[in-house]
Structure formats: structure tokens, C-alpha cells
Assembly symmetry: C2
Homo-oligomer: 384 residues x 2
């Protein structure tokens, strides 16, 4: 075994591996679990012996990819584009992704201010057909706006059709949305959504497994769906023909024990046929955001919203603490007022508000935000 | 106790009681079970002592109705209108109505050639909103035609909207349909459906609990729904607003252990809201007749269709035997040809074909009918 240069640290090892392993590679995930990312990266980089049980052909194929990987450069390119790399063990890593087992991402590239971990706590996926009908687009936008108004984060895939309508619906309601892409997050796909995805990165989060500049492929689209399913508490399919990619997300959600929901449509619509098939199985029929929240809010809370904040106030990040301090005691306030009080931008304020929502400190109230009763009590009693 | 005239026999007693007791009167049903129809009718007619546990006021109210009852006249009027009275114990009584317990009908007035018992064996209810949309009418007609084409009898309430579309869909496919009315079957309601209901009586069955000439009332509409639910293997709701009468039928079907099904529609449609509510509960989503048949055909068969005929051929009624004999041995035939062979009318032939279908002798095949494999075998082996 020859060591050509100093070994990568965990961060560089994992960035290196996002160039070498395809998303969702369960064998690769097992190697990482058994040998550690540093050791797997070192052996691949330095052309060492294959890991036990790995065929020579496979090892050679991976080696060819490894030879072209430049993790320091990827990291620099990403940083220039305002993209960070979040990996298991980081404070921002969403714990629920562990449910993917060996198919969990090696790491995630993230664009945007909010904490992916915080936002993931109270998130719902809204997905569906690219070539959706006007009805599908209307339902996606309405559902997403309603979810955002109730303080929920809307996750989708950034695609044309239902995905785009969902992101726009959430943004239009001044709400939180996350796009999970099947390509490098610095290289938005589809190109026609460059502006929309830019706006999501400003006001929300753009996330993906692929390193900077990487392209989407059919299998990457399919495997991206498992991240959407795992990140969220439940998946709503708005319109989907038989054998549509959204059904893959829905079935992944079911396997992960997440809630699967479907919006009904005319029985005569080819674009509702896939949703109806889901609804004849385990999925639950939903017709508005209130019904979705009733379902996803009812399952074991990942966040302590119902019983009040549990993370003490002085453990909050400074930016979040400033936003919390800017909220009036007994009324709601709109984001511009809160942003002024916290001496920050409106997008930054919204990012922190949704994190505070996930932690049970604040709630949405019509067009504004206010402290939860529990947050007021905890302040009054000096509990935090 | 004074006997002013000879006691009624069972038939006249029950006809008398259909004038005195309202449909679905469970106390009345208990009296009949405990004392027999003859005794209850005699006591009410002759102004005898109240039955044990019945208040004087209630008894007096029933007595006033009893004083105006003329069962011999009702029977004569009915017979002139081609209406027969079918009651528990008769060969034509549908056994599944016993599931209603003390709310079972005292008897049913029936117009039309087929045997209500036979037709009930393989029947499905298709019900829904009166003020349905064009989509609802389309779905009702398409489902009913598809059910009829598969040899199933379509039961509905004869009302405007979904009911009418279902009846017309079945008739249009040369199929079998039953209208269960909330008024005297000689006095079709709604008036605008007089022609449709006349056609159902020619080609199918018109059935009701109310004696000749009697009017529908809101509570009679509601209680009629339990008969539709109990008669059929399952109920499909096509369009229904919240708190619609069709939901009463669907819930009655659920309580009776029948299958409840719903046709989805746009989440934005007020007329699908009631159906979606059902689908969020125990009901199953269906989008075409094949899905309905898959469900209702799968539950414990009331008829022996799957294992072949069990009622020996020589126990069939002569008219059914003639139709059976008119079927060719190795191909399918259309109703006109079968009618010629059986020396009868096409409507009569269709009536018998659906009975024979329920008994497992014949099956629909495209536009015609043919012997089932089991029927062919049983002839060849001289088993019937």
C-alpha cells in the first residue's frame, strides 16, 4: 500500500467519495460503515488492495473515477458558490436520514441560510408530475401555501410541473421551501428553473448529493427521491401517471415509515391514475393543507412544538437568538418588522423563524409570527 | 278482544302493516318478530289492547292509521298495476335483507319480470348527488354500463343526477338495473323520471316498501337507503357533498358489512367533498367497473358463480329453463337470438339471463351471453 500524499480528513474524504460513489450505493454505504470514510477514500485514492468482498472489476471502475476526483477543488468551487458540505455527525445533519441505512447520502451539498436539520424537523414533501395539468399545479401551489402558512417547510424536487408549483406556492406565502436536486446544487436543473432555484436558495435551501457541476441522470433522479422521502415527515403526491417518479418517492416514504398522502383527481384523468393507485393502497387521501398537517402533525413529534421549547434559549445560535428577541411579547409581527428588530434581512429572519418554529418557540399567525404560549411562559419563568 | 271480521292471512297482514308502520320502524319490527304479523295486524285492526311495553299514545296513533288501511284494495290496485308483494319467507325474498334485523322491510312491492332474490345476489349500488356535475353523470353511467357488461345488476334510487345516470348506463348496455323507490312503486317519483322508471320496470325491477299511491317524505328517502345498502354487495358513491343522502347509504352499507366504495373527483369540487371524506375513512377508491367487480366479486360469494351452478336445472323456473335451453353449446349469443329460441321477448330473456348469471349457469361475453364452463360440464355429465 503506497501513500502518495497526506490522508484526507473526514470532510475531504467524504467530498472525494461523492465523486466516486453514486448516490444510494448501498455497498459503498456498507464500506463506509465498516471501514470509515477516511480508510475507504485512502484505499481508492492510493490504488490499494480492494476492500474485502469487492470484485477487482468494480474496484478498478471506482479507481478510474477516483483518479479524476479533486476534493479540495470541489470544496473551493462550492465555497465560492456559497455552498457548504454537510455530513453525518455535523450539527446540521438531519438525523432522520439515518433511516436510509447504508443508502444514506455520503454527505449533502447545501445552499441557503437556514439549518437543514432544523427545517427538516417540520417538513412535508409535495411532489408530482412534470407535465401536470392546471388542476395539479393549482393543488400543488395551494397545498404548499397552506403548509407554509401553518409553519411547515415544503420540500420538493425543483422540477417543472407540480414541484415548481409547490416551491412557488410556499415562496408566495412568504414560507419555507427546500429543493432537493439530482445534480450539483451550483448547476440548477432544469435550466428553465434557474431563477426559481436561485430564489429558493435566497429564501430557503437548495440541497443535493452530487458534487459541484455534476449532471443529473435518470437513475440520479430516482435515487434523489429517497432523500426527499427520508428528510420529510410525509410525502404528498399531487398528480402522477402510472409508473411515475413521484410514486417512487411515495413508496420510498412508505418503506421508511413516513406518511404517504395523495390528492385525488378526476377518475378520467391519466395524470391522477398513479395517485389513485396509491390511494387504493396505504396512502391517505388529502384535499387541503389542514388535512396534511392533521396527519403529519399527529405522528410522533420530531420537534417539541406541542410541549414547548426544550432547547434552552442560550443554546440557540446567535442569529436565531436575535430573531427570537425581536418578537413582541403579546402580539404577532410580520417578517419585515422582525428583520428590523433583529438587524438582519427579511430572508434571514424567515430562515430563523422556521427554525424557531421547529423548536417550538414561535408559531405562524395569519401573516405574521408570534411567540408560542410555552415560549412566553418559559421567558416569564426564567426557564431559558 | 273483539274480532270484527275474519283475521288477515300473512300476506294481507303484512300489506296492512305497510300502511300502518313507517319503513325502518325497529319497534314495529320487534313486534312482528315477537308476536307475528297476523297477531300485530289483528290487534291494531280490531283496536285491541296495546302490545306489552307500547305506550297508549303510540298505540292510538297507529290505530288511527290502521283504521284507514284497506289491504285488499291495496293488493287489487297493485295487481292491476302489475305490482306484486314479496315478503319474508317468499321464494323471491332476498335473504340478505335479514341483515337489517328488526329494521328489515315488512315486505316489498315489486314491479318487473325478474326475480328480486336472484338479481340481488350479484348486485352493486351506484348512488350519488341529485345535482351532480357532468363528470359525476359520466362516471355513474360509465361505471353502471361496465358493471352491466360484466353481468352485475346495478341498483340505485331512481333520483335525478347520479341515480338516473346509473340506471340509464345499465339500460344502455342492455343490462340489469333495479330502482328502489321511497314511494309507492305505481307512483314514480320524481315525476320527471316517469318514463325512465317505466323503462326500468320493463327491462328490470322497480321496488319499494311503501304501498300503492304513497308519497315520499324526507325520512322515507333516508330509510329507503338502508334497503339499497342491504340488498347489494357493495355501494359505490359517485358524487356527494358533505351530509348528502348518499353518504347515509354508504354508512348503512358499512354497518351491514357491505363494501363501500367512492369515485374520486377534483379536490376543488364541493360535490366530491363527501366522497373524499368517505375515502379518508373505510371506503375504497374505485375509478372503473373492473375495480368495483374485483372488490365485490372477491368477498364471500352469495352465489355459486365461481364453482358452477348448484341449483339443479330441474328446479329452475320454466321460463328460466327455456332461456337456458336456448343458449348455444359452444358460442355466445345475443339477447334477440336467445329470446327467439326461448319463444319470449327480449326483456324477458334478459331478466332470466341475469338470474341464470347469478346462479352460475351463464356469463356475459362481449355483447352476448354464453354457458359457463361449469354449466356445459354439468349438462355433459348429466349432473342436472
Amino acid at each position: 500500500m503506497s501513500a502518495r500524499e497526506a490522508p484526507y480528513d473526514e470532510l475531504l474524504s467524504r467530498i472525494f467519495l461523492t465523486r466516486v460513489l453514486e448516490p444510494g450505493d448501498e455497498a459503498g454505504g456498507r464500506w463506509l460503515r465498516e471501514h470509515g470514510a477516511g480508510e475507504v477514500a485512502r484505499r481508492l485514492r492510493d490504488g490499494g488492495e480492494p476492500l474485502p468482498g469487492v470484485s477487482a472489476a468494480r474496484w478498478e471502475g471506482l479507481g478510474a473515477r477516483a483518479a479524476r476526483a479533486e476534493p479540495e477543488r470541489d470544496l473551493a468551487v462550492a465555497r465560492d458558490a456559497g455552498v457548504r458540505f454537510v455530513m453525518p455527525g455535523d450539527g446540521e445533519w438531519p438525523a432522520q436520514l439515518e433511516d436510509l441505512g447504508d443508502a444514506r447520502p455520503t454527505g449533502l451539498w447545501v445552499r441557503g441560510r437556514p439549518s437543514l436539520r432544523m427545517w427538516g424537523l417540520r417538513s412535508v414533501a409535495v411532489v408530482g408530475a412534470r407535465a401536470c395539468t392546471a388542476y395539479g399545479a393549482h393543488m400543488a401551489a395551494t397545498l404548499a401555501a397552506g403548509l407554509a402558512e401553518r409553519g411547515w417547510v415544503v420540500v420538493s424536487g425543483g422540477a417543472y410541473g407540480v414541484d415548481g408549483a409547490a416551491h412557488r406556492g410556499a415562496l408566495g406565502a412568504g414560507g419555507a421551501t427546500v429543493a432537493v436536486l439530482a445534480c450539483g446544487v451550483d448547476r440548477p436543473y432544469p435550466r428553465g428553473h434557474a431563477q426559481l432555484i436561485g430564489r429558493i436558495a435566497e429564501q430557503g435551501l437548495v440541497v443535493g448529493e452530487l458534487p459541484p457541476g455534476d449532471h443529473p441522470t435518470p437513475s440520479r433522479f430516482i435515487l434523489r427521491n429517497r432523500v426527499i422521502a427520508a428528510l420529510t415527515r410525509g410525502t404528498v403526491v399531487v398528480e402522477a401517471a402510472y409508473r411515475s417518479g413521484s410514486l417512487v418517492t411515495a413508496r420510498a416514504a412508505q418503506r421508511l415509515g413516513r406518511l404517504t398522502m395523495g390528492v385525488p383527481g378526476p377518475a378520467t384523468s391519466r395524470l391522477s391514475a398513479g395517485v389513485h393507485e396509491l390511494l387504493r393502497g396505504e396512502a391517505t387521501l388529502v384535499t387541503d393543507a389542514a388535512e396534511v398537517v392533521e396527519l403529519v402533525g399527529g405522528i410522533g413529534e420530531l420537534a417539541p412544538a406541542r410541549s414547548g421549547p426544550v432547547l434552552p434559549r442560550d443554546l440557540l445560535e446567535p442569529a436565531a437568538r436575535r430573531v427570537l428577541a425581536a418578537l413582541p411579547g403579546h402580539r404577532s409581527a410580520a417578517p419585515p418588522e422582525i428583520a428590523r428588530g433583529a438587524q438582519t434581512t427579511e430572508d434571514e429572519a424567515i430562515a430563523r423563524l422556521y427554525e424557531l418554529r421547529a423548536l417550538g418557540y414561535v408559531e405562524r399567525h395569519d401573516d405574521g409570527w408570534k411567540l408560542t404560549r410555552q415560549a412566553v411562559i418559559s421567558v416569564r419563568e426564567g426557564r431559558s
